[in-house]
């Protein structure tokens, strides 16, 4: 049996990669993927702890996160498409309309 710590270390690595990609990458889709990566890292910790404590709540929560992530992906991709249509780019450094 794999110790819980391994799962947690893996999850931490995935999360750190997600953050790093989120901060470094300029392409919106890549950033989007890195968000998914972070979400899944969290999901992994949920599952790991649920397994460790023999509690089903954590597993159910993961399903919940997945559903929300799916909805988020749908909305997010729709936004990305409309941004691309209007600006012909996916570089976040050029999408700075929210500046004061």
């Amino acid at each position: 049996m794999v110790p819980t710590a391994y799962y947690l270390i893996l999850a931490a690595m995935l999360f750190s990669i997600g953050i790093a990609a989120f901060l470094i990458k300029r392409n919106v889709i890549t950033i989007f993927i890195s968000i998914e990566l972070m979400l899944n890292a969290v999901n992994l910790t949920f599952v790991a702890f649920a397994h460790m404590w023999h509690q089903v709540a954590g597993q159910i929560f993961v399903f919940f996160v997945m559903v929300v992530a799916a909805a988020e992906a749908a909305v997010g991709l729709a936004i990305i498409i409309s941004i691309f249509r209007s600006r012909q780019t996916l570089n976040v450094d050029e999408i700075d309309l929210m500046k004061l």
Partner: protein, 657 residues
Amino acid sequence: MNPMPTSYLWFIPLLPFAGFLINGTLGRKLPRTTVSAVALFFTALPAALVAWLWATMCSAGASGVIETISRPWIAITDFTVDFTLTVDHLTLIMLTVVTGVGFLIHIYSVGYMAHEEGYWRFFAYLNLFMFFMSVLVLASNFLLLFVGWEGVGLASYLLIGFYFKKKSAADAGKKAFIVNRIGDFGFLLAMFLLIVHFGSLSFSQVFDTVAQHPGWQAQGAHFLPAICLLLILGAAGKSAQIPLYIWLPDAMEGPTPVSALIHAATMVTAGVYMVARCHVLFNSSPLALSVVATIGAATAIFAASIGMVQHDIKRVLAYSTISQLGYMFLACGVGAYAAGIFHLLTHAFFKALLFLAAGSVIHALSGEQDMRKMGGLRTRTPITFWTMSAGVFAIAGIPPFAGFFSKDEILYRAFTSPNPLHIALWLVGLLTAGMTSFYMFRLWFKTFFGESRIDQHGDGQHSVHESSWIMLLPLVILAILSVVGGWVGIPAVLGGNNVFERFLDPVFATPAAEAVVSTTSHGLELALAAISVLVAALGFFVAYVFYYKKPGTANAIAERNRPAYAILSNKYWVDEFYNIYLVTPLLMFTRGVMELIFERGVVNGSGRAAGTTVRGFAWLTRSQISGNIRSYAGWLAIGAAVVMAVMVFGSSLWAHL
């Protein structure tokens, strides 16, 4: 007739207030007839209510005091002030003057203001004044009286500055308001002292407490004289006494009915009313009474001497008003409160009449107020002439006109008073009576007799006309009152029984006063009356010689005594004195210290500092709002890291701190 329910008392002030609200809000759009109908209706009703009140209070077995149910207004632990209206015999007299004379002047104003701009505004203010004045006289505690006191000041300010496009009128309004502030300051301090020492502002509670502690005076309780002196300061402001009289002559910038109503008959007598109302307090402090008497006598002669050389018809009457108010103060100061109120009543009749008649003259001459440009109006404006004559004879103290009885009563009471200065007070009063007679007949001769000196240019000569009936009707009524008004107070020595004083006995009854009256002989009273009539006749004679028989005599005398004349015609340079020694230093202080240091330094400085700080922080944060999504994400990550660090290491960190 049924007795009046006490709750109806509220209608006496509230009806004029309703008139003010209607005319003040809708008046601009209403036709003039509607405006005047509203104003007259809402002042006639209170007058009718006061008549009903008379019937109620004079009916057999009626109590001397009627009071509404008190409603709490301010309640702080054990200190309470109530909304309560009280009517006793003194208030009844005042109410009669306010609503009766007020209504007559409203009628007059309909004619006088007919061609003026801002007609609705005028009547709205006038009704507002009636409201506050009724509150003032009906109040049952100092604070409610103060509400009316300030309110009439406001109405006075608005009406003096009625022609606000004229700078002198606007300035006069401000002057009246500011000078009255000084007096009100004294009144406020007096109220604070009353709260500290009595824990109440109710008239009945305060006066009962004073009456129950006759020993206070002997023990040297200093707060009673202090309260009285502060009240005197307030009264001197409102009633235009030395040293605060300077606003009243300037107040003549207002329309003439305003001068008649507010600055002669009612508002300026509020100070006298207040002193009479607080007679229990004043009686407990001989010092305060002496101050009242001295201020009154000094003001009387001082203002009369200025009035002798004025050329503006309204200014003469203004100084005359100040002088007569001085008489009332003199009466109060020698403990003759009933005589003071009696003079207040007759003065309200004849001075309102004189102002209204002067207004009629001014109206006839299309706005001319300089007596040097009048003359010979006797035949051109006969009704004005005859009514004004009644007023002139009344104020000059010629028997049997109203002024004779009240003035004579005051002089007699001054002469016989226990005050150590009584002979001096009487002499000053007598001299003032002579001066009064002189300047009133001077006005009379200059205006109505002799050659016409009216400006010839234009059609000035042809347009001289008698006023319309709506202006003459109040004149006639007031003229009748000026003749017979004094007959209610004919003293016993002249065959009357001084009904007026008996009527006020429930309010003022003091054993000391009774004793004085009974110990003096009737012969003395008759002799004093004869002297004062002689002095009045002398004033008439001098005016007759100077301004009718040999016009120019006065000018010759003025030429010969140039310095004396200069002093009088420049009003003793009091305004200049105040300007140099009070107004200018005050302005320099405000400009130099308050404006430079406080206004610019503290007020503006703190505002600017706050602005700069916010702007600095804004600059700091704004530089981070790049619009760059990745920088936001970075902040997010840093924030999350900080939160996690605090969660993980925070507890051990707190423990070490």
